[in-house]
Amino acid sequence: MSTATGNISGGRATTASGPLSHRRVRHYVDLVTVLVAKEFRVRYKSTVLGYAWSVMHPLAFALVFCFIFSFMSKFEVENYIIYLIAGLFPWQCLSNSIVGANFYFLGNSSLIKKVKFDRAALVTAGVLNEIIHFAVSIPVVMLFMLWYGHLPSLAWLWLVPMLVAVQMAMAIGLCLIVATCNLFFRDLERLTTIAMHLMFYVTPIIYPENVLPAEYRWTLWANPFAPLIRCWHGLFYYGEFPATAFLGAVLWAGAMLAIGYGVYRALVWRFAEIV
């Protein structure tokens, strides 16, 4: 890292007692908490509508797709609406956080310029915010399942939190990359929007994966989102736990988290110069 030999001590608040001191962890948790609380208060100013909005978006999509594909699709999926909802809700969460990540750092430029705080907290808070929205919409998914006679199983109690955790790791990793890179290439926002649109159709979200011709099946493993979405379909639609897909999702999430953190760590010291 060039000739920098800076010896900067952040004071007792941050560095005095080691890199992972109790106070530092405490402060990181508090930082994420207040940032999430802020977003929530702002978003849920009128509480009921706030909730409705976060559920309505993927629901509206589900209904539109259900309607369109009911008379023009080549594939038959029983209770197609459940299949759609099972994939669209988690997708919405991923897509919102990744596109939103463009502004996690850029939108806090005045803070980044002057205050030495753990910038990754902005990404953690942004993703956590979307994850919470997703988590509170799961009852809606369950309602639809019940309506169509799918019964939630008791194993959900630990399977759902586990999948949510994997999804969160994946989102944090990707968001660290996007948020960091957007400081250096300011048009990344448009690119991520386009990329996420493409990924939406490449990933089996609105169609079952057996529709894919055999020569394209490999994309299911090359696509970081496919195993994760497959898990959600497994849980909410097929009523099973796809162990291989889960393993794939965990590996992808771990890889993304590692890459994201690497990119962030390599460039974080230049944030204040560049925002």
């Binding site: 890292m1 060039s2 000739t3 920098a4 030999t5 800076g6 010896n7 900067i8 001590s9 952040g10 004071g11 007792r12 608040a13 941050t14 106070r23 405490r26 402060h27 508090d30 930082l31 908490t33 207040v34 940032l35 609380a37 802020k38 208060r41 702002v42 100013k45 005045s110 803070l111 980044i112 310029k113 002057k114 205050v115 030495k116 705080f117 400081l183 250096f184 290439f185 300011r186 048009d187 990344l188 690119l191 460039l267 010291w269 230049r270 944030f271 204040a272 110069e273 560049i274």
Partner: protein, 273 residues
């Protein structure tokens, strides 16, 4: 005031690549890849601080003055630890608290009280620590019952008061002030200056950057004059301010950037590397 050194710069230089953020973004980069790569390779860094050394003792109030682009804010950034020196060492001891510009670290939809928590945690306190100080902060801000109203109903002076109140209750060892006192009514400004003087008795080190030379002379123990990244004068407030006035009248602005470029520059890695 003690003999202990709170902030020390030892032959500190800072260079920026002004064009690091590619303004046209990825699209520009891909469409004009060869020319961009050439530019990235050939570009010369802009030296914003050049071999600056000084020491500031604990409990002192010092001011940095100089024209726009002289390196004042870079100096504050280095002390705050948000940027790294390209060469040399920066040492700053204790808890550092920057006084933010108007509204930074606040959200206009949240109440004053919620904003105190948000701002305090962003500046390095835990939530429990903010809650302990909540009453004092509210009292100091003089906002009274308005504290539970959303921030968007506040005037800019009131927001400045809130920001200052949070910052001073952080119990910083080093307080960094970047021209933040120009808002707020006269009575509150006076209170802030009083508070800063009290700070210095408490052994709080204050670093002040401003163009308000009257305030600089009033509150500073020492003044540093920066010019194009060079520390060209330091000493008693009156003398340094006097020198600054003289230079303002004499030096021509055009000589600036060329000077910086003609010096030999150690290469630094670019972000693309």
């Amino acid at each position: 005031m003690s003999d202990e050194v709170a902030i020390a710069f030892d032959h500190v230089s800072k260079e920026y690549h002004v064009d690091s953020a590619i303004p046209g973004g990825v699209k520009e980069l891909v469409l004009h890849l060869p020319s961009h790569l050439r530019r990235l390779r050939e570009r010369e860094p802009l030296r914003v601080l050049n071999d600056v050394s000084f020491e500031i003792r604990r409990g002192q109030c010092v001011s940095f003055i100089g024209r726009n682009g002289a390196g004042k804010s870079t100096t504050l950034g280095l002390i705050a630890g948000v940027i790294r020196p390209s060469s040399g060492t920066v040492v700053a001891r204790g808890r550092i608290c920057p006084l933010l510009e108007l509204g930074a670290g606040f959200h206009h939809e949240l109440s004053g009280r919620d904003n105190i928590v948000l701002n305090g945690v962003l500046l390095g306190m835990t939530r429990a620590e903010v809650r302990e100080r909540m009453d004092q902060i509210i009292a100091f801000s003089e906002l009274g019952r308005l504290i539970d109203q959303p921030l968007r109903t506040y005037s800019s002076g009131m927001i400045a008061r809130l920001g200052f109140s949070v910052a001073v209750h952080l119990e910083p060892d080093i307080l960094l002030v970047d021209e933040a006192l120009s808002v707020g009514d006269e009575a509150f400004q006076e209170k802030c200056v009083d508070r800063m003087k009290a700070f210095m008795e408490d052994d709080v080190t204050m670093v002040y950057v401003s163009h308000a030379l009257n305030t600089v002379e009033e509150i500073s123990d020492r003044v540093f004059l920066l010019d194009q990244g060079h520390l060209i004068a330091q000493g008693a407030p009156h003398e340094v301010v006097e020198e600054y006035h003289q230079r303002l009248g004499v030096t021509s602005h055009a000589a600036g950037p060329k000077d910086a470029k003609s010096e030999p520059q150690p290469a630094t890695k670019s972000q693309a590397a």
